[in-house]
């Protein structure tokens, strides 16, 4: 996206049209903010439920911040949880860092003897737990953060606890992913409204600009590129559209078969 460029005269859009679009953008922005609060509420509910289920002293969620390669604690629940919010740790350190980098949950006890548990961190939060369970939050291609549970009241963590905590971590990961898509959609609208629509007044030219902005949102998972490709097919000739449908069907069938093969009778209980 052409960052920092001021809104330009958008080709054949008249003043009223542009005002209309900006007005929509403002509402999208407001909606995003409201949704962001909803997301926070959902994450809060997840850590709250985690504390209740495990009868734990605390539970928290740390999200990965790519720019600083760190995990930032954003939400916490439980008597001992609040001190952690706002703190950051390097993404490959601490128990949370281990779960994040390997993608595997880990449960340990007596962490005051454990070098993985950052002593400074413990001092900062004013709380040294006896047992810790850290579970990665997996969203798409990359882990998005870590769910951590501290001090289960009823003894140490079991394999079953690890499985249950993983379900909560999955929920949190989905909430984060939904929020990220909404943010990308808002960025897309922003990119288009501030973008260069001088290239022409033809619908095709406008579509090209929108298409380029859409593709620019795509990360490693190429989600927006995919969305753009599908969208552009709407103007295809019927025979091309039929071909596209055939190709997508074939890929869909192939994907389903591979997924089935790879599931290795995961769900079969004999």
């Amino acid at each position: 996206m052409p960052a920092g460029r001021s809104p330009s005269n958008p080709g054949n859009l008249n003043g009223a049209g542009l005002a209309l679009l900006r007005s929509v953008a403002l509402r999208a922005e407001a909606a995003q903010r409201l949704e962001s609060e909803l997301q926070t509420t959902l994450l809060q509910s997840i850590v709250g439920t985690t504390v209740a289920i495990f009868e734990a002293e605390a539970a928290s969620i740390a999200l990965y911040r790519e720019a600083s390669h760190s995990l930032e604690f954003v939400i916490a629940a439980g008597v001992q949880g609040q001190g952690v919010v706002g703190l950051s740790i390097p993404a490959d350190q601490g128990i949370a860092g281990y779960a994040f980098t390997t993608g595997e949950p880990i449960a340990i006890a007596e962490p005051e003897r454990d070098p993985r548990f950052g002593k400074d961190f413990s001092v900062e939060t004013g709380f040294t737990p006896r047992s810790i369970l850290a579970v990665p939050m997996r969203g798409g291609a990359q882990n998005t953060g870590v769910l951590e549970v501290l001090d289960k009241r009823d003894g140490s963590f079991t394999m079953r606890d690890i499985a249950i905590a993983s379900v909560f971590a999955d929920q949190a990961a989905v909430a984060i992913q939904v929020g990220a898509r909404a943010l990308e959609a808002r960025n897309l609208l922003h990119a288009i409204l501030t973008g260069d629509l001088h290239q022409g007044t033809e619908p095709d030219a406008i579509d090209d600009v929108v298409s380029a902005a859409t593709r620019a949102q795509s990360g490693d998972d190429r989600f927006w590129e995919f969305v753009d490709a599908i969208t552009r097919l709407r103007r295809a000739r019927p025979e091309d559209r039929a071909l596209a449908i055939d190709v997508l069907d074939a890929i869909g069938r192939h994907e389903a078969r591979t997924a089935q093969r790879r599931s290795f009778r995961r769900h079969v209980r004999r």
Binding site: D92, E104, I106, A109, R116, R138, M159, V167, D249, E255
Partner: protein
């Protein structure tokens, strides 16, 4: 059609952990007809002398007392300037403690075995699947007979590569002892392949109690709950997870290979199953 997304336990419904077949109340289901019943085989008397076990993990702290001075080599996988994984010599260090934990368990069960550390975790390649695959390939290339993999890759892109590697290891007589993912319903390679020995945790405190599960993909259960293990900085902790069950089986495989050096991965697995505990 939707964009590819790995299955997770939410989408799949709440699934039992891979360790569930080894829960106390479910152990009777593991009862086997002859010839697969408890035996006290002669190989249990081996110390694993003459056998080398590779630990593909976060490194191994060579001077940790739990490793008993048996670490004979350390390498690490790094991404080069072209982002290709390369294997280079490493100091005998552990960046996390996880690899030292595995080494300590193996040494306790097979004190005569030599250990080689293949570090695939580190700052520059934090758990990149491709680095893990390269490390595993190196182990097979070196002709090392046993590899402890308390790590797995969830990368669908590397499915074929890991599948090929697991087959290659099987044909070259390298036994891969792999931790099942702690999170069921997720991809975990190569631990889900039939050519490897996959391991989940049971909660009995006996390091020499192991179970055979006739319902794959996870075929063996070993001690993995509240296990006292070595850790970075000469420390020790108490850990829970399939990661800690796996080196128990790797240690037993070292004993088998100490007795029958020519045993193939198939024969090793059969011997292990034959001598598994009868619930």
């Amino acid at each position: 059609m939707t964009a590819e997304r790995p299955p997770n336990s939410l989408q799949a419904g709440i699934l039992p952990a891979w360790s569930e077949p080894f829960l106390r109340e479910r152990l009777p289901e593991l009862r086997r007809a002859r010839p697969f019943e408890t035996a006290s085989p002669e190989w249990l008397g081996s110390t694993g002398a003459g056998v080398t076990v590779a630990i593909v993990d976060s490194g191994v702290e060579g001077d940790h007392p739990a490793v008993g001075g048996r670490l004979i080599a350390s390498v690490r996988v790094e991404m080069d300037d072209e982002d290709e994984p390369v294997v280079i010599d490493d100091d005998s260090i552990d960046v996390v403690g996880h690899g030292t934990a595995c080494a300590g368990v193996i040494h306790a069960l097979a004190p005569g075995a030599d250990l080689v550390s293949v570090r695939v975790l580190g700052k520059k390649n934090t758990a990149k699947g491709i680095a893990f695959a390269r490390g595993l390939h190196w182990v097979v290339e070196q002709g090392i007979g046993i590899a402890n993999l308390s790590l797995s890759s969830g990368s669908e892109e590397l499915f074929a590569e890991f599948h090929e590697l697991a087959d290659q290891a099987y044909f070259e007589n390298t036994v891969l002892v792999c931790a099942a993912s702690n999170t069921p319903g997720r991809s975990s390679y190569p631990s889900l392949f039939s050519s490897v020995i996959s391991v989940a945790a049971h909660d009995s405190p006996d390091p020499l109690t192991w179970y055979y599960n006739p319902r794959p993909p996870v075929e063996f259960g070993a001690r993995g709950v509240d296990v006292p293990v070595a850790w970075r900085g000469g420390a020790s902790i108490v850990g829970t997870g399939n990661s800690f069950a796996t080196p128990h089986i790797a240690g037993l495989v070292a004993r088998i290979r100490g007795t029958y050096p020519a045993a193939t991965p198939f024969e090793v697995k059969t011997l292990l199953a034959a001598a598994a505990a009868t619930p």
